[in-house]
Amino acid sequence: MSLPPKLQETLDLISLFPDRADRVQALISIADRFVPIDESLAAPPYGEGHRVPHCESEAFAWAFCSEGGGLSFRYAVQNPQGLSAMAMAVILQEGLEGVGLEEVLAVPDDLPYVIFGRELSMGKSAGLMGMVQLTKGLAKMA
């Protein structure tokens, strides 16, 4: 199954920057758009069931059924310096807005490598892949 159009669009945009420094700047710009989950939906301290496994930036995720019948995702990143987690959250939130469960489940777990490149450290890749995995897991229960 192909990726949701909005997500694919972002990946296509990022792929325009093969140079690491340029890609980093593009990802910083994406991270700048991060807005944490509204407190009316979830307020800290967040439940452990929403904690992204292995994420050292203390990221949390939520899935909701949107009014149109599709899914909607929100995130929190408690480490103010967790720029990569914020960029990943923006990409998932924007790219998966309103899509169906099957499309969410088709997102590959190793998506962070496509976004951040193959130079990810073991710890970083585990945390970012954990964000994808938790997003998919929460989608099943939403």
């Binding site: 990802l27 496994p53 050292e56 720029l83 130079e119 710890g123 954990g130």
Partner: protein, 308 residues
């Protein structure tokens, strides 16, 4: 008034040292292993000092860093691209020449996550015998909170002629066989992962991969002391020696001078605890097991324990 050896070597006058005095008063074995953010701000132009930022988040340096600071990335700069190992002598020389460091240059590490990766980079530097190293107390978050400048300009240093010795892992690094021998000899281990990782408890949702290892738990006899307990949560600075002794000696039962092995999941968080034990509390024989749980939890023929 106290004056740190680090400051004397870097040519800083006593009048500039008030935050350094505070560091001295914390009772560390090697107070010269820490510099304050104030000291750093006063030494940005000091030619005998190089500031090195090393982060968990690879986007942070490019989003802004201390003026003149170089980035050292664990994956790209310190890891061997083929072996699960660190760079060799030639790679280290190239790295030091790139940042314009000589054998006498004071390298001041700082970074995100309470200097976790900064301590990791310092640990690797010490494998090559570059002993003139310090950590900026409080790291990047303290620098930011104090409103000090961050720039995006990447410095270009005049390449130096650094000559490194061969890497010597024996004093500060433990391998799997060393840990097995250490266990057999009744040596002490500190597991610095979270309590959930230590017990082997699954904190994830059903159906997800968990530890990155076949088995959860910890190395037998290890004591659980999560790494971040060594820092003050308000500003990211290291706790005073008395507080650290209460954690590692009174609670965890270590004795001064004891042979200790620290470990976590891949050896990065445990390098922070290695720094605390080795340099702040003066444990001479502390080694970091960088294979850590990703190796031990997957290894054939090694024992584990579960539970608290």
């Amino acid at each position: 008034m106290f004056q740190s050896r680090r400051a004397v070597e870097a040519g800083v006058s006593t009048a500039q040292l008030s935050p350094e005095v505070e560091i001295h008063q914390r009772g560390y074995a090697r107070p010269d292993r820490l510099v304050s953010t104030a000291w750093a701000a006063e030494n940005l132009e000091n030619p005998s000092v190089r500031f090195v930022e090393s982060n968990e988040d690879s986007l942070l340096y490019s989003s802004g860093h201390i003026p003149g600071a170089h980035e050292i990335d664990w994956t790209r700069d310190l890891n061997d691209p083929v072996m699960r190992d660190y760079l060799g002598r030639e790679g280290f020389e190239a790295l030091m020449r790139r940042i314009g460091a000589t054998e006498d240059t004071l390298i001041v590490f700082y970074g995100d996550r309470n200097n976790w990766w900064a301590c990791y980079a310092l640990w690797v530097f010490q494998l090559f015998g570059h002993d003139n190293c310090a950590v900026m107390d409080g790291g990047r978050i303290k620098w930011e909170k104090e409103g000090r400048p961050l720039v995006r300009e990447v410095p270009k240093a005049e390449p130096s002629t650094y000559s490194a010795r061969e890497r010597d892992d024996s004093a500060n690094r433990a391998f799997r066989q060393d840990v097995l021998a250490h266990l057999k000899a009744g040596g002490r281990l500190i597991d610095v992962r979270s309590p959930g990782e230590f017990t082997g408890e699954k904190l994830h949702m059903e159906g997800y991969p968990n530890e990155g290892a076949v088995r959860g738990g910890h190395i037998p006899t290890a004591k659980s002391v999560p790494w971040a307990r060594a820092v003050n949560t308000d500003d990211g600075t290291f706790k005073a020696a008395g507080e650290l002794k209460a954690i590692y000696e009174t609670e965890a039962g270590l004795e001064p001078g004891e042979d200790v092995v620290t470990y976590c999941r891949i050896g990065e968080r445990s390098s922070h605890t290695w720094f605390v034990l080795k340099h702040l509390l003066g444990y001479d024989k502390v080694r970091n097991y960088d294979g850590s749980w990703t190796e031990w939890g997957n290894s054939v023929g090694v024992p584990i324990e579960k539970g608290a």
